[in-house]
């Protein structure tokens, strides 16, 4: 670009905004340093932008927010969710206390495990094996007691009658019933989930 050519207005505007690419910026800056007309135009644009940015920051009246909220129809939270929310903390301190209350009882257990592992021969693997063996043993003993009680009380005798009745139903009917349940159970679960999360209706704020 020689001295007789001037920068076009859009380039000057972009230069004043700081939006030229590095290459364009270098060329434009070199030209402005050598051209009084373009330098004056650039100053003019900068002054305009500064004046626009200095315009007063306008705000609506103090009553504006309440006037808007009085006309907004906010969705009502779902009653199930509202019930759950009643039990949940609403402040940061409340949440901290809840987490502490849940974590605190675990601390002695972890401390106990850590102490056990300091003993020779006790490792994470051996602890896991002991723990799972104890849990299985307890579950088996409990199940055994339930079956024993059932046999003594005669419930299983009644269950045998029910089982015999079910086995007499044609296989196609049983398969059809299972098919219906396979659709109905997930659909019910999904409906329950939506009911718990979806707002049930509209309530005017003013009410």
């Amino acid at each position: 670009m020689n001295q007789t050519q001037h920068l076009d207005d859009w380039t000057l505007e972009q230069l004043a905004e700081g939006m030229l690419s590095e290459h364009e910026l270098t060329r434009a800056t070199e030209h402005v340093e050598a051209c009084r007309r373009c330098a004056a135009e650039l100053d003019g644009y900068r002054a305009l932008y500064a004046a626009l940015e200095e315009l007063p920051r306008l705000a609506p009246s103090p009553a504006f927010s309440n006037a808007v909220m009085a006309r907004v129809k906010m969705p009502e939270p779902s009653p199930v969710w509202a019930m759950i929310q009643r039990w949940l903390p609403t402040t940061r301190r409340g949440w901290s206390l809840l987490v502490a209350a849940l974590v605190a009882p675990m601390l002695p257990i972890f401390a106990g495990i850590a102490w056990l592992m300091t003993h020779p021969g006790v490792s994470a693997g051996s602890l896991w094996q002991t723990g799972t063996a104890a849990a299985l043993s307890a579950a088996t003993a409990t199940f055994g007691k339930i079956v024993e009680w059932g046999l003594e009380s005669g419930i299983f005798g009644g269950a045998q009658v029910v089982i015999d009745a079910v086995l007499s139903i044609p296989i196609e009917t049983v398969a059809g019933a299972f098919g219906v349940l396979a659709v109905a159970i997930p659909l019910s679960a999904w409906s329950l989930f939506r009911l718990a999360r979806t707002p049930t209706g509209n309530a005017t704020y003013a009410n």
Partner: protein, 196 residues
């Protein structure tokens, strides 16, 4: 949770579940810039408040139609801009004044209708000078075509990028640049006596 740290999208999600705090946080964030844009379009304080209220009521009562692919600010400014332009098409523009409504008949009414201006921590003399210059510039902005006015206010007063202005006004980026370029040219011409 401190809502002030939440994004606009998070607030919209919360508001959809009925959180009044989320609505109020969105209101706090956007009432000033929305009012400012509308006021500079319609140049009447009472109308600007009515239209700004309409904007928020429309937005809040139709939050379910907000598409999170776009910025919330673009959506709300678009509604504000459309309401302003519709209003201007029905009505002749009036003379702008920061000093109170022209419909005021008593000193109390004038004071009550004065535009609230947020302080920029200037001294009184600077404040008055800035106010006089501001009034001249407001007059000049008022003479622009509505489309040019929207574009220049969004760019230089509200600091929105060109791409967002294109979304707000629903026009191509090239057209935004053309409007802003023409608005700047007209403003410089009108304000030439101020050596701008």
């Amino acid at each position: 949770m401190a809502l002030i740290q939440s994004t606009d999208h998070d607030l919209v999600v919360l508001a959809r579940t009925g959180s009044e705090k989320a609505y109020r946080e969105l209101l706090d964030r956007y009432q000033r810039p929305v009012f400012s844009l509308i006021y500079r379009m319609v140049r009447d304080r009472e109308q600007a408040e009515d239209l700004a209220q309409e904007t928020f009521v429309k937005v809040f009562n139709h939050l379910e139609s907000f598409n999170p692919k776009y910025k919330f600010s673009s959506w709300i400014f678009k509604i504000a801009s459309n309401l302003s332009i519709d209003h201007l098409r029905k009505k002749e523009p009036e003379t702008v004044s920061l000093d109170g409504s022209r419909h005021a008949t008593t000193a109390e009414e004038t004071e009550a209708s004065r535009i609230q201006v947020e302080s920029r921590d200037e001294n009184p003399e600077q404040f008055l000078e800035a106010r006089e210059l501001g009034a001249e510039i407001e007059q000049a902005i008022g003479k622009l075509r509505p489309e040019y006015r929207t574009a220049i206010v969004l760019r230089h007063v509200e600091g929105r990028p060109y791409e967002e202005i294109s979304e707000i006004m629903d026009i191509p980026l090239g057209t935004v640049k053309t409007y802003i370029h023409r608005a700047r040219s007209e403003l410089r011409e009108t304000l030439a006596h101020l050596k701008i």
